[in-house]
Structure formats: structure tokens, C-alpha cells
């Protein structure tokens, strides 16, 4: 198992904030909009440096999506910032009509996704957002795994013309991807080559997949670990190449098992090369209050859960 180490932990939302500042310096058309969560989204540095290109919208997310769509008409590249729940479910129809169907170049940047939002509880812990967003024709869905990758993704999406959903989170997590990485939308990242099982993980679960890979290696199991930072468009080629070797799959995501990464992978397998698959995901339920660690354990999203899923799926080959 390839060695992954880290010296620092940081939140992915800070990767967004720092990436936004950097892309703002590079591209004068980048504008920021925020719905009363500047601190939480780490948009303060951008606001301070580019006050004329930053729009405090207040607690009015529907309006924010419409404003962003309108700004693209003048050639702007709007980055909207609020929690994932309010970036998707609350404004689904606005995104559907004014952004996706209208083909507008809006970057919907969503923090505090999933259970790791923690103590605020289920009202704020959206676990359905990947599903909602990937169902929209033309929408790109990205869920990077650490600070560096979130920063790189934030910068990269400005170069891509079209609507993007960029999902990240609240807690500090290990920084293990390179600071100078080139972020390629739709291109899976091979983290460890293996032969017994393919583990496809996204977001916060990527680091847990690495931990699981070490534990599996200790048991003599060779896990191939692939970071799927872009759920749509999915890198089906990378998925199929891996499954051709391992013939079984574990998917891992901080999302409902319905509609997320697991289902996207299952669809590729079903259409091309049916293979056993185990989901590490939230089992079609709402979350609750608790610390991120407690919640990830209770809802089955730890490295131990990935190991158990790998062993189960290997036995089904």
C-alpha cells in the first residue's frame, strides 16, 4: 500500500476560500455571492480584496441563484456560497430553470455538506445533494477530498464554461494531496493500485479509504483506491479499468446511498461489466446532532466500515 502522510489538517471550505481569492486575482470576471455565511464559507478574503465584485445577498438563497444566473449574461463567472442544504434542495427549481436549463456559467459552491456539519443536526446535514445535482442535465458535480484539492478545483472550474456544483465541508481533515496538483474535471485520481477490490471514494471518505487500504493490506488484501472527485461526468473509463482487474467494488461517500456516487458507479457496472458492489453510505435516513466523529461512526462511514465492506464484497466474487 502506497504511503500517504500529512503534516496538517484543514477544512475543505478553507480550500474554497483560498482558491476563490486566487482565481479572483487571476480572472477579473470572477464574482462572489454569499447568503449571510461569509465566515462559514471563508469568503471574507475575497470580499476584502474585491469588494466591488462581492455581493452580500442576505438570507435569500433563491434570489442569489437568480442573481448569479443574471450576472453570467454580462460575462461574469459567479461563485455562490452557502451551506450545501441551502445550495441545492432549497433552491432546486431556481437552479433547474435559471441555471441548468438556461446553461448558465454559475459555480454553486456548497459547504457543510453531509453529516460532518455535526451538532446543528439533520435540518442542515444534507445527504441528498449529489443526487439532486447530478440529475440536472448539463450539471457538473465535484466533491474534492482535502484542502489542496478543493482549492485546486475552485480555481479550475473558472476555466470550464457551464454550471458546476462544488461540494465541500466543515471539519478539518488531513491534507494529503499535493499543493501543486492539476485539477482535471472528470478525471479520477489513482491513489493506490491493487488487485483484490476497487474502492471508489469521494470527499471526506477518500482519506478514510486510504486508512482502510492500510488495514486491508495488513490483512493481506490488495485494495485499489481511486478518488472520484468528479461524480458527474463520471470517469467511467477509470472505473471499468479498475474493475477489470479486481472484479468487485466498494463505494464510499458521505451521502445517502440512494442517488450518490455508489449509484453512479453501479450504473456503469450494470451497463458494462456487472460486478458485486458494497455501499459505504448513509442508509436512506436523516442525520442528527453529534460530533462529526460520532456521526460518522454511528452512520457507518468509518475506515472500519470500508474494510468490512471490502471483505464482504470480496466474498461475493
Amino acid at each position: 500500500m502506497k504511503e500517504y502522510t500529512y503534516t496538517e489538517k484543514k477544512d475543505t471550505r478553507s480550500g474554497f476560500g483560498d482558491g476563490l481569492l486566487e482565481v479572483g486575482r487571476k480572472n477579473p470576471n470572477v464574482v462572489g455571492l454569499c447568503a449571510d455565511l461569509i465566515g462559514s464559507l471563508k469568503m471574507g478574503a475575497f470580499q476584502k480584496e474585491f469588494p466591488e465584485r462581492f455581493f452580500q445577498v442576505g438570507i435569500a438563497e433563491a434570489n442569489m441563484m437568480g442573481l448569479a444566473a443574471g450576472m453570467t449574461i454580462g460575462g461574469k463567472i459567479p461563485y455562490t456560497g452557502t451551506f450545501a442544504n441551502f445550495s441545492t434542495g432549497r433552491v432546486y427549481d431556481q437552479i433547474r430553470q435559471s441555471i441548468a436549463y438556461s446553461g448558465k456559467n454559475v459555480k454553486i459552491c456548497a459547504s457543510h455538506a453531509g453529516l460532518t456539519l455535526g451538532e446543528d443536526g439533520a435540518t442542515h446535514q444534507i445527504l441528498e445533494d449529489i443526487g439532486m445535482m447530478k440529475m440536472l442535465p448539463g450539471m457538473t458535480v465535484i466533491n474534492p477530498c482535502d484542502y489542496n484539492q478543493t482549492k485546486a478545483a475552485t480555481i479550475a472550474i473558472a476555466e470550464y464554461e457551464g454550471p458546476v456544483y462544488l461540494r465541500f465541508g466543515r471539519p478539518v481533515v488531513p491534507i494529503f494531496t499535493p499543493a501543486d496538483q492539476k485539477f482535471e474535471i472528470g478525471k479520477a485520481v489513482m491513489l493506490n493500485e491493487g488487485t483484490d477490490v476497487s474502492i471508489f471514494a469521494t470527499g471526506h471518505l477518500v482519506w478514510k479509504a486510504i486508512l482502510a487500504g492500510k488495514m486491508l493490506a495488513d490483512k493481506g488484501i490488495s485494495a485499489e483506491i481511486i478518488n472520484i472527485h468528479t461524480i458527474k461526468p463520471l470517469d467511467a473509463e477509470a472505473v471499468l479499468a479498475s474493475v477489470a482487474k479486481t472484479r468487485c467494488v466498494v463505494t464510499a461517500e458521505e451521502h445517502n446511498r440512494l442517488g450518490g456516487l455508489g449509484d453512479s458507479i453501479a450504473q456503469v457496472l450494470a451497463a458494462n461489466t456487472p460486478a458485486p458492489q458494497e455501499y459505504v453510505a448513509v442508509n436512506d435516513t436523516f442525520g442528527e446532532s453529534g460530533t462529526p466523529e460520532e456521526l460518522m461512526e454511528k452512520y457507518g462511514l468509518t475506515e472500519n466500515d470500508i474494510v468490512a465492506a471490502a471483505e464482504r464484497v470480496i466474498s461475493r466474487k
Partner: protein
């Protein structure tokens, strides 16, 4: 003025023929807003029919209540954005003239999809703010239905625009007092719209939307009111179905097409040079 009236009659002929041909669509609001659309595109706005999405240096128009697409399509065609013959494809398979306006099929003149109500004001404000960032001093217009004002997003946007001094925007409301299930007073309790928008910080005007002699000066006055720190809104008093007597004064013709006989009556009432029909 006579020319505008002629054009309006032609647009109204197009509207009733378009909805009749596919036995669907929304003639009532379209007819009521015809004079407004003709005023905008044949007198008030500066634009190029050589359409670009950005519309830099041009006045932009957004239709928020997208169901009155027939009047917009006809106006755009008559203004030269596309061939009037294309009006015959309205609501048919593979048409650029979808039931509700969209950018998806690339129809010149349309910059956003609309139909699901309440979204156009936000879009127009965003476009207006982009114009300011681009040092583009042209204006942004948007039309909303009065029933549409029951949507919450409208009031989010209504609060935002004055707060951000979006004063290069002229919003308009088709105040015909009707919506699908009855009058706006009965269904939604819209109340005093002037007082409401004034309380939100808008420069509010009212105008007769079916009388060019009153409407054109009002639109010029609205233009003169821009650039003064406040967004402008005009409450346009219109009559649903205006120009076709049996469609007037009721919400019944909101989304119903005339039959063959009713079409003939409507066309007789809208008699212009029929050689110009599509």
C-alpha cells in the same frame, strides 16, 4: 403612434393564430401586454437584432412570466430577430418557440428560461449589476405578472435591489388583476402594490398599459428616473385579452385557445393588412 398601433394589431393577430393553431398557450395575458411589448421593442429600447447573449451596450429585456411567450415571440419576430414564418412552429416538436421561453434551443432574443414563476426579477437584477461592473450604462427591463408576485423570491429580490442601489433596472408588473383561479384580489390578496414597493425602497410608477398615448411617456419617464440610486418599477394596468372583446374582463382566457369560429371573430376585430400575417 399609428404605426405602433398597426404593429400591435399585427402582434395580436399573431398571438391568436399561434395559440389557435396548437390549441394551447396563453392568449389572455399576451394580448393584455401587447402594447407594452410593442412600445419596448419599437420605441423604447436600444438593441441589436444581431443577437448576442451578453448584450453589451444594449438594453436587455427579461420575461419573468414566461407563459405569455406568444406576445414575446411575435414581437421578436416582427422586430427582426427571426423570420415571422417561424411563429407557425410555436409549441410544436423541434421548435425554438417552446411553450415557455428558453435559451436551450437558441432562440435569438431570449437570455434566460422562464415559466416557473418568480425568478425573472432576480435574473434581471443580476444582469443589471453585471452591466454596472462592465461600465455599461444601458438598461435592463423585466416584466412580471401580478399573480406572479405571490412567489416569495420576488420579495427577496424586491428587498435586494434597492439595498444594492440597482438603479439601471426598470421592472414592470402586468397588473391585469387576473390569475388562473380567479382575480388576484380573491386568490392572492396582493393589496396595495404601490405602497408595498415604495416601502421596499423602489421608485414606483403606475401607467395605463393599453394606451400608447399614456404608456410611451410613462416609459420615457421611467428611463429618466434611472441612475438616481433606486430601482424603478411600473405597475402597468392592463386588461387581459385586450383587443378581443370576448376575451376581455375575465381570467377565463388565461390559458385557453380560441376555436375556429372564435379565431375568426378575433381576427375581424384585429383587422390590419392581413398580407403581413405569417
Amino acid at each position: 403612434m399609428d404605426e405602433l398601433k398597426q404593429t400591435a394589431a399585427q402582434v395580436r393577430r399573431d398571438i391568436v393564430r399561434m395559440v389557435h393553431a396548437v390549441n394551447s398557450g396563453h392568449p389572455g395575458g399576451s394580448l393584455g401586454c401587447t402594447d407594452f411589448f410593442v412600445s419596448l421593442y419599437f420605441s423604447v429600447m436600444n438593441y441589436s437584432t444581431d443577437f448576442t447573449m451578453d448584450g453589451k451596450g444594449e438594453d436587455l429585456f427579461f420575461l419573468s412570466n414566461g407563459h405569455i411567450s406568444p406576445v414575446w415571440y411575435s414581437t421578436l419576430a416582427r422586430a427582426g430577430f427571426f423570420d415571422v414564418k417561424e411563429l407557425s412552429t410555436f409549441r410544436k416538436l423541434n421548435s425554438r418557440l417552446q411553450g415557455h421561453p428558453t435559451t436551450h434551443e437558441g432562440l435569438p432574443g431570449v437570455r434566460i428560461a422562464s415559466g416557473s414563476l418568480g425568478q425573472g426579477l432576480s435574473v434581471a437584477i443580476g444582469a443589471a449589476q453585471a452591466k454596472k461592473l462592465n461600465n455599461d450604462d444601458s438598461l435592463v427591463y423585466v416584466l412580471m405578472g401580478d399573480g406572479e408576485l405571490e412567489e416569495g423570491q420576488i420579495w427577496e429580490a424586491a428587498m435586494y435591489a434597492p439595498h444594492h442601489k440597482v438603479d439601471n433596472l426598470i421592472a414592470t408588473v402586468d397588473r391585469n388583476g387576473q390569475q388562473i383561479d380567479g382575480s388576484t384580489a380573491e386568490v392572492g390578496g396582493l393589496g396595495d402594490l404601490r405602497a408595498k414597493f415604495e416601502a421596499f425602497g423602489w421608485h414606483v410608477m403606475e401607467a395605463d398599459g393599453n394606451n400608447f398615448e399614456l404608456l410611451l411617456p410613462a416609459l420615457e419617464e421611467a428611463k429618466a428616473a434611472t441612475g438616481k440610486g433606486k430601482p424603478v418599477i411600473i405597475l402597468l394596468d392592463t386588461e387581459m385579452g385586450f383587443g378581443v372583446d370576448y376575451m376581455m374582463g375575465s381570467h377565463k382566457w388565461h390559458g385557453v385557445a380560441p376555436n375556429d369560429e372564435q379565431l375568426e371573430i378575433a381576427l375581424q376585430q384585429l383587422a390590419v393588412n392581413t398580407a403581413a400575417d405569417y
